[in-house]
Assembly symmetry: none
Homo-oligomer: 169 residues x 2
Amino acid sequence: MPEKMMKTIEVDEELYRYIASNTRHIGESASDILRRLLKLESQKTEPSAEPAPAGVQGEGVRRMLDAGTLAAQDSAIERFMTILSVLYRDNPAAFAQASDIKGRKRIYFADSEAALLAAGNTTKPRAIDGSPYWVITNTNTGRKRNIVTQLMAAMGYAHGLIERVSQSI
Amino acid sequence: MPEKMMKTIEVDEELYRYIASNTRHIGESASDILRRLLKLESQKTEPSAEPAPAGVQGEGVRRMLDAGTLAAQDSAIERFMTILSVLYRDNPAAFAQASDIKGRKRIYFADSEAALLAAGNTTKPRAIDGSPYWVITNTNTGRKRNIVTQLMAAMGYAHGLIERVSQSI
DNA sequence: GACGGGATCGCCGGGATAATTA
DNA sequence: TCTAATTATCCCGGCGATCCCG
C-alpha cells in the first residue's frame, strides 16, 4: 500500500503500548488507531452527519465522570471546558446541531473567537480542545451549568446523565 | 520531561497537524499532547501511578528533616534545592509524574535549562542535584513553599509531612 | 546572562455579584 | 412596578518578574 505523506513522531513506550493494544485488525496503522481513539473522522470521509448509535451516546461522558477527570480540575472553567471537549467528541454532528443555543445578546458557541467577541462585551472566548469550536467563558457557574444542560438536552442525552454532568461543574 | 525510552510511529500529515495544533505550551512533546487528548476518554487511565509503598515513601525526607540538614542552610533557595534533590531520590518515578505542575505562564520543572528559560523571563533555573531535572528559582519564599507542597501532594506524601517540609523552607 | 536572594508590587484569570433588560 | 433571566463589571486571590538590598 503506497504511503500517503507520512510524518514521524516520538511517543514514550507506555503510550506506544497503549496505542498498539488498541489495534482492531492485523496490520492496522498507527494513524488509523489514533484516529479511532481520538474520534477523528477517518481520512477523506466527509463529515458524515450520522449521529452515533443511540446505545453509544454517552459512553465517553460516563467514562469522564467515572474516571474522576473532572474532580481533578480545580476551577469551574476547566471542568466546563473538559466537558465540552468530551461532548464534542462523543458526537460531533449532534454537537454542531445543538451549538446554536444563545442568550439574549450573546451567542455561546461559534467556530471562531471573533464571532463570540462580536456578540458581546468581554465574553472571554476559549477554544474547545480537539474541536473547531469556541465558547464564551465570562459567566458565573450557574450559567455554565445552564449552558451544558441546554447543550446536552439538544444533543439528546438522558436527563439523569445531564443532571450528573452539570452538577459536576 | 525526562528522556524516557522513546518509540517512533508514523502518522499521516493531517493527523500530525491535528496533534500539533493541540500544543498547550512551547516545546510540548507529541507524547504529552497525545496523553492529554487521550486521557479524556482512555479507559485504562489509572489516575496516575501508585505512589510507591507508603512505608518507604518519606524515609529519606524524614531523615533530612531530623538530621537538621535544612536548618544548616542559610538561604531559602538552598533549602529548596536540597528538598527537591531528596524528593527526587526518594521516588524518581513519582517525581517525574508530579513535575508537570506549572503556573500561569511559567513551567516549574523541566529536563533542561532552556525549557524553563523559554517559558518565562528571568526564571533563574537551577539543576536539581542528583537528578536530570531543573527548577525555576526566581520566586518569593511563599511560592517556593507552594511548589514543594504541590509537588509532594502529587507524589502522594502525607499531609503532615508535607506541612513539615514546606514550613522548613 | 552573569551578583545572588527574594520581597514587593503589578498584572491576570476566575467567577460572584451588581447592573441591565425583557 | 416587580420579578426573572442575562450580561459583564469588577473584586479577590494567585502568579510573575522587576528591582532593591545585603
